[in-house]
Structures are given as structure tokens and as C-alpha cells.
Amino acid sequence: MKIAVCVKHVPEGAAKLDPGSKRLDRSGEGALNKFDANAVEEALRLKGDSDTEVVVVSMGPEKAADSLRKALAMGADRAVLVSDPGAAGSDLVATSRVLAAALEQESPDLVLFGQQASDADGAVLWAAVAERLKRPVVSQAAELAVDGRSLKAKRQTEFGYDTIESPLPAVVAVSDAINEPRYPSLKGIMGAKKKPQDVRSLGDLGLGADDAGEAGSRTSVLALGQPPARGDARKIEDDGNAAQAIVDFLAEKRLV
């Protein structure tokens, strides 16, 4: 079996926006998106001692190789980085187009995603990628079992847990409740350097300049502004009458 794990290299520490491009400033240090570590861990758990191959796939700047190396150090077998200046600034449709093209070259039985990216809160990419690959998709998986031909996932929803079954190949986004990612061992870190790491351009994927980056995107950031301000905040110490003060406040706001 072959499992592909899509991972993202995200800025470390307090992220900031570049006022010029209005994009996230990706010039500083970065790290493997922590939610993607759950997806890598799940792939390694499913692999166990079998001959299943785990390929980590990312789209990002050259520095994203650091994050892929971490996934290799955890135990993944191979890494594919799509890095191309023409891909910078890709929105959801453009990113899903590029990732789907990279995944099609790999034709994995299972594609895993983490539940969200810590830099841009959107948690929607997998459904777009699954649609482009024309594969079934399950998101928010808190448990996952795979038998080589099909999968069974326990999915967290607003209302409880759904059990979803699907044939493979399929796309699954795992929740961070699914496992506790391992730390790479020293041996793993040393070994990672020798594992195959391919870098592919848009051209390598059969994509043109119109497929990615701003040209391939269908949304744009027009301006950056301040969030709406909160009204006057009040802070009181409980002198025994706080409960009444809260009731009065709620009454004043017409909330009771």
C-alpha cells in the first residue's frame, strides 16, 4: 500500500502579514504544521512493520524541505516538495490544483491531511483535493482503520461520532485527537538525510503558469484593516454582590 501525507511548512512564532503583497510573511523560520504531525503519525501507525510506503508531499518555498525532513525523521520513506516561484500566493482552488497534480503522479491508496493549518485557520483543503482526484473523502477522523481495500473512520461532528466506511483510494483528514505524534529519534534524524527528497516544479507536474499562484487563484486580498473595537470593558472584584452585578449588566444589555 502507498500512503501520501500532505503537510505544510508554517511560520514559527507570531505570524505577520506582508503589507505589500498582503500575504503571510513566510521569510522567517518555519516548522512542520503541528496538525500535520498527527497525519504523519497516523500514516506511520498504519504502516507498522508492513512494506507500505509513506510519502510526504508539500507545496511551499524551498525552506519547506525542513518540514519534510522532520516527517522523514519521524519515519516517512520519501518526500516530494512542489516548489516553484509561480505557486506563491495560491489560494484554495490553486493549491488544490497543484497538490492534486502532485498526488496524481504518486497515485497513493490513501491520502492523509491534518485537520487544519496553524497559520491560516482554514480547514477545507482536503475536500477540494479529493474532488479534483475524484476520490471519496472523510474529514475530522478521530479513529482510522484501513485493510488495504477499504477504510473505516470515526468522525467527530457537532453532534457526536459518525462511523464512515469507504473503499480505497480515498482522502482522509485526521483530527488532532487521533494520536500523539512521536518525536523523531536521533537515528531517525540522521537517517532522514539519506531518504529520497524530490523537488518538483509546476512544469514537472504538467501545470502552466495560469494554474497556480495569483493567476490560478479565484480570490484576492483587497485590503488589511483593524478588527472592530470592543466597547468599554468593565472589571469588578467580587465583594459578595458580583452575582447581582452580573444580572444588572445582563439586564442593561437586554440579555435577560
Binding site: 457537532e158 453532534f159 479565484r218 488589511l224 478588527p227
Partner: protein, 320 residues
């Protein structure tokens, strides 16, 4: 805004309030139609009309009985084509997010997500998207049609617009092979029956400061007295005090109710991002330096175990 379609999610015989809020907003911006998909859809069409939908597309096909996203993408793609819509709006939920992203890929359409608001500016739609833990509000747009938007829970109030009976159109799409492969084979545990915390007007949330799982009854009793739902922080969900379905924050739900009451919650950034767009925030914490006070409308420095029972009593007395 010619040709706007709103995806209305429902559960049992109720349309989701968040989605009705989006419909209310869309109707105010210049009219909207709606689509209801799944068992019981037809019966909800006139309800959608009350919130401003002029036309309601319904689909009760066998393939959409289960709450799964991909068959819904097929229905929406058909409706967008048949109705010629240039804008499709969604209220965020586990299901709606997957439907919206799937539709974006199917139609090669731009999807702006996690929007807190939208306005029509000189004939163009402009979305408001909080970014970087809500420290920045970005104005976002679309460079082609159809334009897809996914709104945060609680972005808009649902208000009946006094609309008449809508025109009802049944949709029978052809389903893609890959859309119907995943199947729901079971549901278990925690299947809550009330409104989800994302749909509640009032949320009472508890954190570590409650001291023990048993003390969550304080939050539950207060929520009952206020007519609200109970939420929890990640720390207490991880500790097994309360189910994940109630978790609010970065890895849980994002809520923006009219009133958010935080009990024994310090207000770490991971929690803040899930609730800071609430209309009014009241917090009780014994640590005067807790970050939650920085974004509370009323902060009370005190002991939840003393204040909350009294507060619940007072509220019950008011209700009579």
C-alpha cells in the same frame, strides 16, 4: 447581487440558525434563493421562504439521506448550473465546510472562508475575514464567478423577513461515482439533541477553574437558567471532563453567540480564537491577571464556586 444561492443545512425538522442568518443577510443584500438537501427538505421550504428565500431548491434523493458532503456537491453543482447563480453562501459546519470546498474544486470557483461579514461595495462583493488570531481583518474579494463564501458561526442574526411562500423546485442531479462511495454505517455516543453550541444564542463555557468534572453542573445549571448551551475549553475536554462536541477554540468550534459566559477560563489564545467574536462576553475568574479579562465586556474577579450558584438563583427568580 444577482443570483445568490444559500446552502441551508438542517437537522431533523429544523433549519440551522447559522444558515438562516446567512440567508437573512443575503436577502437584505438584494435577494436570495436557497437549497435544502436531505430527508425532510421539502417540508422546510416554506420556512426558508419566511427568511427571505424567493425560490427553494430541494433534493430528497436516496443518495443525500446521509449527512455526507460529496453527494451534496453534485446537487449544488446542478442547482448552480440550472439557476445560473453567481454567488453561493454557506454557514460553517463540519459538513458545510467540506461541501463548500468540494464545490469550489468542482466549479474551479473562488472560496473565501471563515468570513465574519460581507458587504456589497460598488456592485462587488467584499468579504471580511479575520486573520492571525483575529488581530487583523482582511477585505477579501473574488476574481471570477461563481463566488463561494463560508461564514463563521453566528455571523448574522436570523430574522424572518415576512416573505411569502417560495417557489419550490425539486432537483434530481446525476451523482458522480466518487461522490457516493463513502457511507455512514453507524452513529454513536454523545448524539446531542439540542441546538449545537454554534447555533445557541447564549453559551456558558467552563474551564479548569471549575476545579472538577462534577463542578460542570455549575455551568449546566447556569446555562439552563439562561436558556443557553454549554461549552468547554480544550484543557477540560482533554482531561475527560466534558465531551469534544462542546470544545470551543482553535481545535474545536468557533462560536459567536449574543452572550458568552466564561467560567474559570484563563483565555489562552487557542480558546480566544473560538469565542472572541461573541457579542457580549462575561467572565468570572479568580486570577485578576487572566488574559480573558482583556477581551471581556464584564470581567469579575472572584470565585466561580461562590458566584455562579448565586447568579443561577437570581436568574431563576427573575424568570419566576
Amino acid at each position: 447581487m444577482a443570483g445568490t444561492l444559500v446552502f441551508l443545512e438542517h437537522r431533523g425538522n429544523e433549519l440551522q440558525k447559522g444558515a438562516l442568518g446567512v440567508l437573512t443577510k443575503a436577502a437584505q443584500l438584494g435577494g436570495a434563493d436557497a437549497v435544502v438537501i436531505g430527508e425532510g427538505a421539502k417540508a422546510l421550504a416554506s420556512e426558508a421562504g419566511k427568511f427571505g428565500a424567493a425560490k427553494v431548491w430541494v433534493c430528497e434523493d436516496e443518495q443525500v439521506r446521509q449527512p455526507l458532503p460529496q453527494p451534496r456537491v453534485d446537487v449544488l453543482a446542478q442547482v448552480v448550473a440550472d439557476g445560473g447563480y453567481d454567488t453561493v453562501l454557506f454557514a460553517n459546519s463540519v459538513l458545510a465546510a467540506d461541501v463548500a470546498a468540494g464545490l469550489a474544486a468542482r466549479l474551479d470557483a473562488g472560496l473565501n472562508w471563515d468570513l465574519a461579514d460581507v458587504e456589497a461595495r460598488g456592485g462587488e462583493l467584499v468579504g471580511k475575514r479575520p486573520a492571525l488570531q483575529d488581530s487583523v481583518y482582511a477585505d477579501v474579494g473574488w476574481t471570477s464567478t461563481p463566488r463561494l463564501a463560508l461564514f463563521r458561526a453566528g455571523s448574522f442574526d436570523a430574522a424572518a423577513a415576512g416573505g411569502g411562500e417560495p417557489e419550490v423546485v425539486e432537483v434530481s442531479p446525476s451523482f458522480e461515482a466518487h461522490s457516493t462511495q463513502a457511507r455512514l454505517t453507524g452513529q454513536e455516543g454523545e448524539q446531542s439533541t439540542g441546538p449545537s453550541i454554534e447555533d445557541a444564542d447564549i453559551v456558558v463555557a467552563g474551564g479548569r477553574g471549575l476545579g472538577s468534572p462534577e463542578n460542570f453542573s455549575l455551568a449546566e445549571e447556569l446555562a439552563k437558567a439562561l436558556g443557553g448551551a454549554v461549552g468547554a475549553t480544550r484543557a477540560v475536554v482533554d482531561a475527560g471532563w466534558y465531551p469534544y462536541s462542546a470544545q470551543i477554540g482553535q481545535t474545536g468550534k468557533t462560536v459567536s453567540p449574543k452572550l458568552y459566559v466564561a467560567l474559570g477560563i484563563s483565555g489562552a489564545i487557542q480558546h480566544k480564537v473560538g469565542m472572541q467574536s461573541s457579542n457580549v462576553i462575561v467572565s468570572i475568574n479568580k486570577d485578576a491577571n487572566a488574559p480573558i479579562f482583556e477581551f471581556s465586556d464584564l470581567g469579575v474577579v472572584g470565585d466561580v464556586h461562590e458566584i455562579v450558584p448565586k447568579l443561577t438563583e437570581l436568574l431563576r427568580a427573575r424568570r419566576g
